[in-house]
């Protein structure tokens, strides 16, 4: 059951081969057994989940169910979930029970999906290894001495270890794709504006985008069908007609021939993403994946993303700038952590101590960077320049998509690294996202699919970037690849 696809689970539930309550129990048991060690979940509330499951079973009994009715979904603890602790991985919100639901939670709720728990994450989504969480690091299920990636490390670990069949996540600079790559699962960051940010605790508003994680492209497509949709409460939400992201899964690429379902597909390979810094084991797995795509009929096209090298510096100006302002609301006044009254003298001291104690080191580092780059006299040199670079990077992709249909490459320069290996070197840590950040800056949809194993037998992820709103086609080509391979079916030992 734990290796079943969402389509299979959905069918089993509809055929009453299993009830949602039984399904939830299976996963709650697994969480009980493995979470102590893996630390994928921050909160689990069995009674609440079982009650939701019982409700889903009633819906199924009435015949009033949708594809995900009764299916357990783990939610990144960045999504405000009514009645659930919603911590964003921070001490600052360690006591915050959300009084409202994020749009994404509402959508899953309406679909009848069951909240399985809230997953661990880097504090306020700032991190690439899940080591900045107030709740401690998440372990990579493939090898517990290694990180699962971040910031959606809890969701990635939960899916990879089969503690949940599906999970939500968010991606600001690679926070869906990098942990998906490092744990061997499928994760998609949609076009900016497709998933409402309402109720998704903001890190960097112009870059943050919610998206799903699952075993396969097909599962991810089903999840995206629920997550995506216009929301008038988010001014950056795009008002467009709903679409069925599973519609192209079994449709061959235009001009395809029998046995070569991807004939005509042009895969752009940015030379900047295959050079220095790319680990040979990852390069090898990516090469094998590209060869597989060729077998399916695709063609390689070498392309350039000439401003790609500027993406990390531009990102580390824009994201902290927005974060420094977004995180100002955590001031100890209305909710969340406040320093003990005996420790502060006046208002300013209350602010200082509350924020000094409530935020971890990485969050403070980014608030400082962001405050600095927005300061009087520095704004033009940093923030405005970074915004110009951002436009150049978006333009690079416009050029690229004249020559190719999708861009592929490694999702991460290396496989998962050891816990603790990069904590003292933020720049090395930041470079983890060198291949994923450009898609956030351009607002493009991008995903990572498992494509093999590298050093220490740890998973490698293939990064796919598509043009705006081409999620259905991206998922389709990933699905074709997954029909021909079984990397996405591999499961770590010991869980």
């Amino acid at each position: 059951m734990i290796n079943a696809s969402l389509r299979e689970l959905s069918a089993a539930l509809a055929a009453k081969k299993i009830s949602s309550v039984e399904l939830i129990r299976i996963y709650l048991d697994r969480i009980e057994r493995f979470n102590g060690e893996l630390n994928a979940f921050i909160s689990v509330d069995p009674d609440r989940s079982l009650a939701l499951a019982a409700g889903a079973d009633l819906r199924i009994a009435r015949g009033d169910h949708a594809p995900l009715t009764g299916i357990p979904v783990a939610h990144k603890d960045i999504y405000c979930t009514k009645g659930w602790l919603t911590t964003c991985g921070s001490r600052m919100l360690a006591n915050f029970t959300s009084p409202y639901n994020a749009h994404v939670i509402e959508r899953f709720d309406a679909a009848g999906a069951v909240i399985l728990g809230k997953t661990n994450m880097d504090e306020f989504a700032m991190g690439s290894s899940n080591e900045t969480s107030f709740y401690g690091p998440v372990k990579n299920p493939w090898n517990r001495a290694f990180v699962p990636g971040g910031s959606s490390g809890g969701s990635a670990c939960a899916v990879a270890a089969r503690l949940a069949p599906a999970a939500t996540a968010t991606d600001t600079g690679g926070s869906i794709r990098q942990p998906a790559a490092l744990t061997g699962i499928t994760g998609l960051k949609p076009t900016y504006g497709i998933v409402s940010r309402y109720g998704m605790i903001a890190f960097a508003s112009s870059l943050d985008q919610g998206g799903p994680m699952g075993y396969s492209a097909e599962d991810v497509a089903m999840l995206l069908n629920v997550m995506a949709g216009f929301d008038e409460r988010d001014s950056t939400s795009l008002e467009r007609e709903g679409e069925d992201y599973t519609r192209d899964l079994d449709r061959a690429w235009d001009g395809a021939t029998a046995g070569r379902p991807l004939s005509g597909l042009r895969i752009g390979l940015p030379r900047e993403h295959f050079g220095e810094g790319l680990s040979p084991d990852v390069a090898q797995a990516i090469e094998a994946a590209l060869a597989q795509f060729e077998k399916l009929g695709a063609k390689r096209v070498e392309i350039g993303l000439p401003n790609s090298g500027l993406s990390v510096p531009a990102y580390y100006v824009i994201a902290p700038a927005e974060a420094s302002s977004n995180l100002s609301r955590f001031d100890g006044v209305r909710y969340g952590y406040r320093a003990p009254a005996s420790e502060y003298r006046d208002l300013l001291d209350m602010y200082c101590k509350t924020r000094a104690q409530g935020f971890g080191a990485e969050v403070k580092r980014r608030i400082l960077i962001g405050t600095y780059v927005l300061s009087h006299g520095y704004y033009d040199a940093y923030y405005l320049k970074a915004q110009r670079i951002r436009r150049l990077i978006a333009q690079d992709f416009v050029e690229a998509f004249r020559q190719c249909d999708v861009v592929m490459g490694p999702a991460s320069p290396t496989v998962a690294f050891r816990i603790g290996a990069k904590v003292s070197d933020p720049v090395q840590m930041y470079l983890n996202d060198i291949y994923t950040i450009p898609a956030n800056l351009a607002g493009l949809p991008a995903m990572s699919i498992p494509c093999g194993f590298g050093e220490n037998n740890l998973p490698v992820g293939l990064h796919i970037v598509g043009n705006y709103f081409t999620e259905a086609r991206m998922l389709a080509l990933a699905h074709q690849y997954q029909r021909a391979t079984d990397w996405h079916r591999r499961m770590p030992a010991g869980v």
Binding site: T236, R329, L374, S375, H376, Y379
Partner: protein, 496 residues
Amino acid sequence: MAWETVIGLEIHAQLSTKSKMFSRASTQFGAAPNAQACAVDIALPGVLPVANKGAVERAIRFGLAVGGTINRRSVFARKNYFYPDLPKGYQISQYELPIVQGGAVNIVLKDGERTVHLTRAHLEEDAGKSLHEDFHGMSGIDLNRAGTPLLEIVSEPDMHSSEEAVAYAKAVHTLVRWIDICDGNMQEGSFRCDANVSVHRPGAPLGTRREIKNLNSFRFLQQAIDYEAKWQIATLEDGGRIHQATVLFDPDSGETRAMRSKEDAHDYRYFPDPDLLPLVVSEETVAKIRKDLPELPEERRRRYMAACGLSAYDSSILTTDLTLATYFENVAMHSLKDGEALAHADYKLCANWVINEVAAKLNEENLPPSKIGVSSATLGHILRRVREDMINARTAKDLFSEFWSDARKTSYVRQGGSPEKVDEKIESGGLRQVTDSSALEAIVDQVIAANPKSVEEYRSGREKAFNALVGQAMKATRGKGNPAQINEILKRKLSG
């Protein structure tokens, strides 16, 4: 050489939308603390702002009314600072690209008209309120006001006296109510002024300015500017220097005192709000709002002068409020006899009544023009009877006062009197003016005979004695005599 004071105003007008600038919470004044603060207003984690279309439209209305440029694309920016009544830790405002740029407001002073130019007008949200008095050793935070839509109207430093500044503030106050974008209620804080004041010698560069914050009455505005200008002049004449600062006006002492200096000014770290897309206004939206704009106070004032022959002063008083101006026009219309056109003198009569009786009563009883106690139809009818010489002015005033008292008894829910009642009262009360000259001649003869002393005094050159005789004659008609006729008869008889 004399000092010249230079003043620029920043006016915060609360826009009269039902819900807030970026949330759906109500803007109604007077609710229990924090009863009107929703998830967005209290800045829960994850909430997002959505701009209120009604507020945007009101800002455009204002921009068009002052002849400013409506920027087709304007940008909301975050102004970052920490304060307990600022829930997000930043205020959403407009910085580099405001919705309205330029424009001008004309003001009428005793010695003529002046133009005050506007720099800009931009949309922003208000902060909440900190209550320091009511909680022992603690502060209370009321976020009902947090997120209330404001239009900040920034003038050029075009004013040179507190009189000009007050006239400008009043003109803006009139305009925002006239075009129905703000209720103008200063007690509730719907209309507040900050005044930037500096002094210099004419021809010399501008002096350093100090900003007086949060003046919520025209009287305080005047007092604060007068005090501040005097203080700056005295400081400079004593060899001191003015330092840029934000100051508060204390109405009790009548003084201004520094709140913070430039040295500890915040670095607000303005940047475009990534939660809000640039505000794009279409040509059609602007055209539609322009089409729906009423005749503006300035245009109407000029029309009253040109078409009705009213003085600049009377015209400007009538156009301080749209309801009052409309009332005046309706009174004039109802004072018409059938098929008649009004002459300038008739307009003047109506204007005098609206200014000296109606506006005076509103003032006296502190009522808004929406609570005028006698309808324009009733007052117009009274004045029609005056113009027809059916009743005299004194009777008219008595009728008007009686009707107004009737309205007062209903707490101004209903207006007093009606055109029919006017005629009924005239008939049943025998209030018709006595214009029968033989009757009046007889009365005057009696008065002269009964008051030899007054007659003597008048003849020896004391004009006042004449008025006493007119009064006696009016009394003898029980107030219904035609005063002009009595005057004339009396004069003739006394000189005879």
